[in-house]
Symmetry: none
Subunit: 221 residues, 4 copies
DNA sequence: AATGAATGAGCGTTCATTCAT
DNA sequence: TATGAATGAACGCTCATTCAT
């Protein structure tokens, strides 16, 4: 529990790129804008996240917003970049404790991810990303890249557990594990009908993942 | 394979409501509009699906579109209703063959659903629905209702396989199975990176589902 | 009081023109349309009185409305014609009882008109007519013509009371009397702030009219 | 006559509110918009006074108009406010010369008001206001408030002439005087049939007002 | 670094009108 | 008589963008 709280504290909502030159004030405003945009995206969706709406949420005038982000596309991309980067950092920070058995590590990773899924931010944000990525190559690449990185730990664990399997199969197992959990967003994410049953779902997930990794190709497929 | 072709043939993209009065011409136009709207939604997304865009796609004038759908909301709701209804029909038609073992039936259901996920329609449509449902109660209800119906068969199978488990656990298992597959949409759906590996993923999924249902609560959770 | 009730009963809201040919059904529909239009005009104003709104209020389809009134202008003119005609009839029916003194007759006429001003119909309708007549020659003519007829009785009475005055002056007196009462519409008409004081205002009006007619040009103007 | 000319010169068509911030150019544009709107309202009426029409009259694009007045309602309200304010100022400036007898002052007030009635602006504007106020609470309040202020001088004069009368009666007398003149708008205002006879009507009005105030309740009511 | 002003395109909607059925 | 279908124009409004200040 403390750990969760810590994570919430440590992991920022967005990770901004280094920004050469400029005063501190500008940097603050830049952050404020992206933060406001993210807030609207989460609370109201992608469509209402207009330049005007963002400017209003920042208490600034439209003209100034376009000073920081000349076009809406700029803003959207930097926003998604920053927010996706935060998830990358989150995933990279995930336990690599070699003292634990692979099963234990798998269990912990899944627990962390499923915790994250229940946050408002993740529940609201990712479906938007999935929808956008269907029609926007930039978002598509960025999202698939994020997931690719997120599967690295899983791939390692699967390798440890099943070095007998070919790469393709191991990757597919890791993908299944990752996708499986993502799928729960819509059903057990923030404010979703099965949110209260997330602990049970978490147990089920982990058992399913462990047993399929252990057993795949050994019993009658 | 033949069966897939048959299904594609039988199951329509949308199931339109009865429409009282009006000429045949009007009925055709009505269909044409919803079909055009669905096409745009799939090909370009929700935002570009404007009244003007739809009218243009139909080769008709905006005014006439509003004759059929006085407001955009009317159109959107009737569209989602029609398209979701088609999935309901699809799911309701799913195998209930009592001659098969529950495991076999589970395998077949999953195969059908994962086939469906690879279609352009499903891959494109559902992420939009998930995103919309985060900010629109109507869509939320409609989507959750659809999934609830879709889980009925799964619940039956889980019950057959594990009548020893309490309802809540069985429901969670069915939900996990359903959510798991939905999650694959983003990774192995139409035009997605893992689409070619769907057969392998399908195998993995089914084995994971079977083993977790069989084993949950029996081995060390 | 009874008399007022009677008048309300006798005087129709609109007086339709004779209409050659056609079945009774058509005549009824024709009336229904104008009646609905008048209702909307009174309750909601001129702007909301659209063809669609009228058709809806009649429970009929737009197409049928245009069968009876090909253009909106047709409808508006026939409506104003009919409604103005009803006022003409009302004014023509006004007391000519030669047994009464001119003062008494003036008092009665004024009482009737001021009663009428308090009706919702008159309070709502006439300001619309005044506004319209500023920009529409047809309405202008029709309205001025109505008032011209309405002043006839007044002119007669003024003549009886002041045969010494030249025509122009007598006409101006009649006009003043008529205009004076019309002006009360905005202040003491239906739902207006001074509506409850209409009896007192009526007294004042009549006394002002009598005294000015009697005294004009005799005292030091 | 000189006085009239002066007044026309001094009293502006509209009195704009203070406007915080912004460049001089913006202030000019703001004025230009309201002036154009008033012009259309007077020349063509309320209905044709559309956002597009106003923008066109200003030689600007619709988008810019909404920069100054985000909604049409904003524009209408600020317009009516500004124009009504100008009348308030006009009325407040009205003669209070205590050297004159109440009768003389009454005569002068009436002369000023009846002069004003003959202006195009007043003749065209007020019927629109009366019509609007029947269906719009904001306009209703604003208009009745204006008239209430306009009656203040009249109430004072009536009090001086008839301190023996109760308040209610004095108020009714003032209202009658005011309403009486307003009523002349439709008949003797700008371009109306009796406009040329306004001097005679003015005489009649004043005599009627003076005699009813002096005589009310003294002779046989 | 920020605001003010303006454009141009597009949005959903309402409307009067026309005509086939 | 009456409805159904379609058009074309206009409405108020929102938006991303540009540029002067």
């Amino acid at each position: 529990m403390d750990q969760l709280a810590d994570r919430q504290f440590i992991v920022p909502d967005m990770v901004l790129p280094e920004r050469e030159g400029g005063y501190a004030k500008g940097r603050e405003t830049y952050e404020q804008i992206l933060r406001a945009a993210l807030g609207i995206l989460i609370e109201e969706g992608y469509r209402p996240m207009s330049m005007r709406r963002i400017a209003a949420a920042c208490g600034m005038k439209l003209g100034n917003l376009t000073y920081y982000f000349p076009t809406r596309e700029d803003l959207v991309r930097e926003l998604l970049d920053a927010v996706i980067r935060s998830y990358e950092i989150e995933f990279d920070a995930i336990v690599h404790d070699p003292g634990l058995s692979p099963e234990r590590r798998l269990g912990e990773i899944c627990a962390l991810i499923l915790e994250d899924i229940r946050t408002k931010k993740t529940t609201r944000l990712f479906p938007e990303l999935w929808a956008l990525s269907n029609h926007d190559a930039f978002v598509f690449d960025r999202v698939q890249n994020l997931y690719s990185r997120a599967r690295e730990s899983l791939n390692e664990i699967v390798l440890e557990m099943r070095s007998d399997l070919p790469l393709e199969t191991r990757e597919a197992l890791a993908l299944f594990i990752s996708a499986s959990m993502e799928g729960l967003t819509v059903f057990a994410g923030y404010d979703k009908p099965f949110e209260p049953r997330m602990p049970l779902l978490s147990e089920i997930s982990v058992e399913a993942f462990v047993s399929v990794v252990k057993g795949f190709g050994r019993t009658a497929g």
